[in-house]
């Protein structure tokens, strides 16, 4: 029986694991991708004291930090969680893990466009990770759908390789992005933002060749990066009955507690407005500390 089981190995889960280990709690963390979505960030420039760090490097350091602690790390997926009398049982498919307290730090997953042929063109022009795939667009034409930070940083990264980068956004301005990114995008000669449009159709024989926009225009391109936001990774914990807000994010109090005793949540999966690394890590620390206090009582 573990004191704490943490689901997710992004910034929130990793930090919860590190704090939990430092409180000498018997800790296990199950996660699919070390660093979580942060591993996919091109450049991170708002995570002090790193003036600039690549998401991939941050992810590696997070994992090394966790592995240096007295924590059991399992690379895998929690399928579901059952609440027993005074503990929880996590099912990973080939393993059952029992723990007194749990921290849900499952973060988010990319939204899909939800239009026809999107899955067919996946890997054949449609991509959800500019950091992974940007380099395949050397001297090609790429498009990015979306207008938030993730979309603009994807466009900036792509402009390092591609000959031309379109941004397709359904609003008339980049309202949601940090001004620093917006400025860089608007100054960049390779990037052409197209506002007030949606993608209506994906066109191509076996690979993506063009997109049709809501203004009826057809734009030829070699690839399209989908950066239109995220949805919470909630499926595995659904059966616990944690309270969620109207968008499906877990509601927590200032101690990272959910409505269910012994269940904490941290990071992007919660109803925090600001979905950023520093916030996720702070949550992880708060959750582990409160678990420690609860167990000591």
């Amino acid at each position: 029986m573990y004191d704490v089981a943490i689901i997710g190995l992004g910034p929130a889960g990793a930090t919860a694991a590190i704090y939990s280990a430092r409180y000498n709690l018997k800790t296990i963390v199950v996660g699919q991708v070390p660093g979580g979505t942060a591993a996919e960030a091109h450049k991170i420039c708002n995570y002090p004291p790193f003036a600039e760090i690549k998401g991939f490097e941050l992810a590696q350091r997070l994992l090394q930090h966790v592995q240096a602690m007295n924590v059991e790390v399992v690379f895998g997926k929690v399928e579901n969680i059952e609440k027993k009398k005074d503990f929880f049982e996590l099912n990973t498919g080939d393993k059952k893990i029992q723990a007194k307290k749990i921290v849900i730090a499952t973060g988010t997953k990319r939204k899909q466009l939800g239009i026809s042929r999107e899955n067919e063109f996946r890997g054949k022009g449609i991509s959800y990770c500019a950091t992974c795939d940007g380099m395949f667009y050397k001297n090609k034409v790429a498009g990015v759908v979306g207008g938030g930070n993730a979309a603009l940083t994807a466009a900036l990264l792509l402009s390092e390789f591609a000959e031309k980068v379109y941004i397709f956004y359904r609003k008339d301005k980049f309202y949601k992005a940090e001004p620093a990114w917006t400025e860089q995008v608007l100054k960049n000669k390779k990037i052409s933002p197209i506002f007030d449009v949606e993608i209506k159709e994906l066109i191509g024989k076996t690979e993506l060749e063009a997109v049709k926009l809501s203004n009826k225009k057809e734009i030829k391109l070699d690839g399209l990066f989908v950066e239109i936001g995220s949805d919470p990774n909630i499926a595995a914990v659904e059966s616990l009955g944690v309270k969620k807000d109207e968008r499906g994010y877990i509601i927590i109090d200032e101690n990272c507690k959910t409505n269910i005793k012994g269940v904490y949540a941290a990071g992007d999966i919660t109803n925090h407005k600001l979905k950023q690394i520093v916030v996720a890590e702070a949550d992880g620390a708060v959750a582990a500390t409160n678990i420690y206090h609860e167990l000591m009582q």
Partner: protein
Amino acid sequence: MAHIEVNDSNFDKEVIEKSKDKYILVDFWAPWCMPCLMLAPNLEKVAGEFKGLEFVKVNADENSKLGTKYKIMSIPAVKLFKDGKVIDEFVGSFPEQGIRDFLKKNIK
């Protein structure tokens, strides 16, 4: 199961030629792609369960000729070769069981 790193210059010998006698599972990856790093050990492990199958890796960053030839646009990209040709493929992270099902479906 051990694997070998294949590149632009030895791909024909290690993959195309060898795939005449057996199946070759090729993993196109890059060092900064976290999903690639998570997938590789699973591929290696599951590939070891199949007879007549060899697992090789291609660093897509260093071997752009192969990337272009096989139209790699997203990684991880995994392709199964037989008789010099790609007979099936997938992109993105796959759990162990998914890889097993993919190989079972294709390996006769």
